[in-house]
């Protein structure tokens, strides 16, 4: 069950991980995109950190919505609206009080899919979100499985986003958005968000 305090710890850990992996994320994007995914994500999570520190929050919905707006207005590029839509979707689902993690994440995935129209196998963040949401539902999310889904984007041929212009040449590289999404789910596990 998601609480205000847990949600904030989760998002702050996510921000910390993004900051640590910033260069790595941009390098991944350099190979099949335009090399800015790390900078974009770090700019967004830094802004998120600032707003989360600025005031006290009463509801999970409020936390998720504020975080989403920060990500949306600061990440830019393709991943800005995608993470933004995910968080705004999650906020809507969260309702006023405490909330069911599985349903919330499902709403997040729904936000991404509506925004980007990506299918499984298109070599995007969806290739992590989709199995991760399912795993949460079945209470079987683990670091190992996240790693597997992220790595599974390597042999895929990109069909959405900037990487799709590379066609065949996109094969053999991990998708940067899948990697950053992996960090989001890892942080969930590490902060005990999924614990009863």
């Amino acid at each position: 069950m998601l609480t205000v305090e847990k949600t904030i710890r989760w998002l702050n850990l996510f921000g910390q991980k993004v900051e640590e992996k910033k260069v790595y994320l941009s390098e991944l994007d350099q190979a099949i995109g335009d090399g800015d995914h790390g900078t974009n994500m770090a700019r967004g999570t830094a802004a998120m950190k600032t707003v989360l520190e600025q005031k006290a929050y009463d509801t999970v919905q409020d936390v998720l919505k504020t975080a989403g707006m920060a990500l949306l207005s600061k990440i830019g590029g393709a991943s800005g609206p995608l993470y933004g839509s995910a968080f705004i979707g999650m906020a809507k689902q969260a309702g006023e009080g405490a909330a069911d993690v599985s349903a919330i994440l499902e709403a997040g995935l729904e936000g991404i899919r509506k925004r980007g129209n990506a299918e499984a196998g298109d070599k995007t963040m969806v290739d992590v979100w989709l199995p991760a949401v399912d795993a949460v539902k079945n209470k079987e999310l683990s670091r190992e499985r996240i790693d597997e889904w992220v790595k599974a984007t390597e042999p895929m041929k990109a069909k959405k986003g900037r990487a799709s212009y590379l066609g065949e040449r996109s094969i053999g590289h991990m998708d940067p958005g899948a990697v950053s999404s992996g960090l989001l789910f890892e942080s969930m596990i590490e902060e005990g968000v999924l614990d009863e």
């Binding site: 335009d34 393709a78 980007g116 212009y165």
Partner: protein, 329 residues
């Protein structure tokens, strides 16, 4: 990397301040945003807005003004602006008849502009959008992000801007765009790559004797790399590809835009259009509109793009030719 700049992170902010200082009779910057709006207002008419990542100057801010764009939203270098910036532009520019967003077809741009559209709808501003996808270097299929929006976008700004100034309502503008956009096609060739200020090295490497056909305006790879060719040969390659895409007939009426990519001098652009001129004469097309200059650039990339527009309607040509008050048209 040698550039005239200060800190790379501030380059867009400083550029916009410099632009507004220089052109204060035509444009202003909305306080606290990266939105460049025109000082002129046309109450009761649709406001046309465009934008995207920076690094394509004079696009888009150079086309803000009477008869073209009501505002331009300027993102970081090669990165789409976020929805809140676009929303600011929409709220400011709306002249009571709604707003049309002109989006270049890139995943990031499309998503950010569409989100802004949703936000604007929540504030009861009637907003619609059109997506320009003129770059024929890219396969157009439902299995990709589709064709990119490149230099042909400025012809859309001009014609749609003219139509908006003429008083066409939002719905009719959208119908016009549905006709217009498939009639515009572009193909580019690069001699050297652009260097993003924050990255500090070129996006790709071309040898001292290499060129690449079909590159995008953010260093997206093209369809073929080869040894440097004469202007005539490059012109022939681009014309042949466009011909394949247009399927034109003797006597058809077209317009031509030759666009420098940033570091290519005007001299070379004129030499190039001279070769285009000869090739099109052989094709026996009726060339009713021509334009040459660095309009949709890619930072300091050297290269050129060729845009052609099938002028199906007499009125499109009129809107292309109509005088406007902008920095760069």
């Amino acid at each position: 990397m040698k550039k005239i700049m200060n800190e790379p992170e501030k380059i867009v902010d400083e550029m916009l301040d410099g632009l507004v200082f220089t052109e204060d009779s035509i444009v202003e910057r909305l306080p606290g945003t990266n939105v460049i709006a025109r000082t002129y207002r046309s109450e009761g008419k649709v406001a046309v807005i465009s934008g995207g990542g920076s690094g394509h100057e004079p696009t888009h801010a150079g086309f803000v003004g009477k008869g073209m764009l009501a505002a331009a939203v300027c993102g970081p270098v090669f990165t789409s602006p976020a929805p809140d910036q676009i929303l600011e532009a929409v709220k400011h520019a709306d002249q009571g008849a709604g707003v049309l967003l002109v989006i270049k077809n890139y995943t990031g741009d499309v998503m950010n502009f569409e989100m802004a559209e949703e936000l604007a709808a929540m504030e009861d501003i009637s907003v619609d959008h059109i997506i320009v996808n003129d770059d024929v270097a890219v396969e157009d299929s439902t299995y990709t992000a589709g064709r990119r929006g490149v230099a042909g976008t400025i012809l859309v700004h001009k014609i749609i801007g003219g139509a908006a100034e003429a008083g066409l309502p939002l719905k009719e503008l959208k119908t016009l765009a549905d006709q217009l956009i498939p009639s515009i096609k572009t193909l580019a060739v690069a001699l050297s790559a652009a260097t993003v200020p924050e990255v500090g090295k070129p996006g790709f490497e071309l040898a001292e004797d290499e060129i690449e056909y079909g590159i995008g305006i953010h260093g997206e790879p093209g369809y073929r790399r080869e040894k440097i060719k004469s202007s005539k040969e490059m012109a022939l390659e681009l014309i042949e590809q466009l011909k394949k895409n247009f399927n034109w007939h003797v006597g058809d009426r077209y317009g031509v835009l030759v666009n420098g990519m940033g570091a290519t001098p005007l001299m070379e652009q004129y030499v190039f259009i001279n070769d285009i001129q000869h090739l099109l004469r052989e094709e026996q097309l009726d060339i009713a509109f021509k334009k040459v200059g660095s309009y949709m650039t890619s930072l300091d990339m050297a290269g050129i793009s060729l845009t052609m527009i099938r002028l199906k309607e007499e009125q499109w040509l009129k809107w292309l030719q109509e005088p406007v008050t902008t920095i760069a048209w």
